[in-house]
Each structure stands twice: as C-alpha cells, then as structure tokens.
Symmetry: C2
Subunit: 207 residues, 2 copies
DNA sequence: CAGTTCACGATTGTTAACAATCTATGTCAA
DNA sequence: TTGACATAGATTGTTAACAATCGTGAACTG
C-alpha cells in the first residue's frame, strides 16, 4: 500500500518468520491470502513474489475502477441520508494534515485510502471489499509505472469530489472522479519499469 | 453454487479429508480461501460453517450488483468490438438445452453463471472476479430466502439482455438487466429461512 | 427437579521433523 | 572458454504428532 516493497521482491518464508516473529504456519496462511487477492504470486516450489502487473493488467484495473467508481460517487451524491459522510470529511482533514507536514509515505497511503473510504461510506461490505482490492492493486501499478513526483493524487481533487457529494451534485461528482482517475492513469509511463529490490529492508527499517 | 449445501452446514476437517481423500493441510488451505471469499465462516476453535447471509447482507449484495451490472452491460452494448460475444451466445444455448431437459440443478448453476459470463465477456480479470464473488453469494441468498419455484431466473430474460447487447442498445440492455435483478430480489421472502442441514450428504451423493 | 460444576471426548490450532523440489556452485569435457 | 552435468545447499511442501480449546454429558448439590 505504501510502495515500500517493489514488485518481484521475493518474500521468503524463513525471512518473514524472523521479521515478524511468528511460525511458518502463520506466514504461509498470510501468503496464501495475499496471493488470493493478487497482491503476491505464489510459484510452486519457488516461493512468493510481490506481484508485478503488466501493462495489460494495469489497463484492466483502471477500466474496472472507471466502471465502478462513477456510479459509486453518483450514488453517494444522490443519497446523502444513509451514507457515512463524516468518514470522508475526517479523511480529507487527515490528508491535508499529512500534506502540510510533507509526510510522503503517509500522503501516498491516504491518497489510495480516500477511494477505499468512498466505498466504505456506502456502508456496503461488498463494495468496500472490491474497492479495497482495486486500490491496493493500483498502488502496485503506480509504484511500477509512476514517475516519482506524481505518486500521490493531485492536491485538491479529493476535496473537490467530496464537495460535489456534499452539495448533492451527482453529475459533477461523477465527472470530477472520472477526470481524477484519468489524471492518475495519464501520469503513468507504461514503458519504464522500476527494477525489483531483492530484500525486506523496507519492512525491517520500519520496526 | 448449486445450492446443495445449506447455509450453516458444518464442514468438519476430518470429514472433508476422507470425502476428498486429501490431507488436513489441503483442506485447511481450501477452507481459508473459501472463508476469504465469504463463502464460509471460520470460527476460531469451532470450525468452518457455510455462510448464512442475513437480510442486511442480502440487500448489500443486490445493491452492489445493481451498482456494477448496469454500467457493465451498458459497456458491453456500446463496445461490441473487443468483447467476447460468443461466450454469451454459447451460454444461452446451454441454458436453453438445460431448460428443455428440465435439469434443475444445471439450470440453477447456469442461471448464476450467465451473470458471471457477462463480466467475463469484458475480458477484464478484475471485473470477472468481482462478479463471480457476487454471483456466488447470490446463490447462497437465493437458497436461503428463495421460494422453490423461482430458484432460477425467469426463462427468457437472459436471452433478451443478450439481444439488447447484440443490437447495440445500451439503454435497453441496462433497463432489462435492472428489472431482471429486481425480479430475482422481489422473488425472495426475507422472513422465511431454510433450516440448516448438518452433514455433507449432498457432496458424497454426487461422487 | 433444576441448576451448576467437573471431566471427558472431539475438534481445531500449532509445532517440528521429514520429503521433495529447485538453485547455485564447481567440475569435467569438448 | 563454454557448455553440460552432477552434487550440495537452501527453500518449499507435506505429514504426523502434540497442545489447546470447546462442547457435551454425567455427577453432584441446593
């Protein structure tokens, strides 16, 4: 989620065991779940590797998001009664704070999380899970294909989307979101790839 | 998927081991994956049970489907170039055949699968996975709350949706699909619950 | 007779040893 | 020098024994 582990990084069981201080069973369970979400790839007898989406997969992820998120925000803007607006308002506050403090990894994490919280605001478990999966995958893609400067979303687009929702303007909310997704996607360079890093220093460093 | 295992059925590890002739490890891996998809619930130290969606979850599933499927079929009807229409045409043929032979479980399976194949026709892996999960969950819900006669979708609604897609009529396709989902949902009786069955006779019987 | 407690059996969770597979290194030959 | 082959090490996959937890039923008490 925070792009500290590059795609194709090998995740050896023994290494994860000592890093997190748990037995192999826990590690293998976690790896299986991550692989079922497509975050890592399990290669038989070869181990687990951070997933490395290709160009085509990247396009699929954005196509899926452009299918789901527009009706999602439209619904949020229409039906402001049953939805959890506070969740979004509080989140924007967090984003602003992180941006002022220039906490880079925090900004990246919150940028993705905003979209997850759009889904969470519907109070619909299934929509939430779908968006979380798509957002996670987007993080991988941005880490792979993104130029370093635009790793996070443009500053105030999230805030503007929220305002459109609050003012019950479905068409505007939908349009703002579409162009927001467009900005993210067009900020990617589909040809250049980051090279894989080969250890877990990123995780160890954060303890 | 075929509603042979009622919700709340207990799935004991030992039982599954002998039924499928595999070790506990394989069984536990499978149970973990099923639980991550919400098809079963893993209760700590108590075992695995077929998920038993409640009224609120059922509404969430239909809300999620009504959010995703309309733009999905609209896209299919608009952009008939890159999509896999043959998949849908062949499927409708299978449905017709099963209906003529009055193969009940086959009809139920294919009824759900049509919606999965709508997603598959986009050739987008993520859309496909999301729909598969929602359709599976719908099967559980229909098994729980559905009256026995309308367990499958009305006869020709799938066929009509496909025709609207083939004739590039997005608005019609979207409208047909919405009323189709409405039909399924309104055929449910949210109060009456089927009682759980307590063993795996259904699986054993099919071997 | 009802309610509580204890102990037993059954089931799940964990651990550790073992087996199988793959990668890498080093040797030999062309 | 390069290629293939074989062997050793490391890593993953599996199995089986062990520990922990939970539900049940019997025994006991009020």
């Amino acid at each position: 989620m925070e792009q500290r582990l590059a795609p194709n990084t090998k995740l050896s069981e023994a290494r994860l065991c000592e890093t997190f201080g748990v037995g192999r069973m826990r590690v293998r369970r976690a790896l299986l779940l991550l692989s079922s979400q497509g975050i890592i790839k399990l290669q038989s007898n070869r181990g687990a590797y951070v997933a490395c989406p290709d160009k085509s997969e990247a396009n699929d992820v954005f196509a899926a998001r452009m299918l789901i998120e527009p009706p999602l925000v439209r619904q949020l803007a229409q039906n402001s009664g049953d939805i959890d607006l506070k969740l979004l308002i509080d989140h924007i506050a967090l984003e602003d704070a992180a941006r002022q403090k220039k906490e880079r990894t925090e900004i990246i994490r919150l940028s993705g999380e905003f979209h997850t919280k759009l889904a969470q605001a519907t109070r619909n478990k299934f929509i939430f899970r779908m968006m979380r999966e798509l957002v996670t995958r987007t993080s991988l893609i941005v880490g792979l294909f993104g130029s370093s400067e635009n790793a996070s979303c443009p500053d105030d687009e999230h805030s503007n989307i929220l305002k459109a929702i609050q003012s019950h303007n479905p068409a505007l909310a939908e349009q703002l979101l579409m162009s927001h997704l467009d900005h993210i996607q067009s900020g990617l360079d589909m040809e250049a790839r980051q090279e894989p890093q080969d250890d877990l220093a990123a995780i160890l460093g954060s303890d």
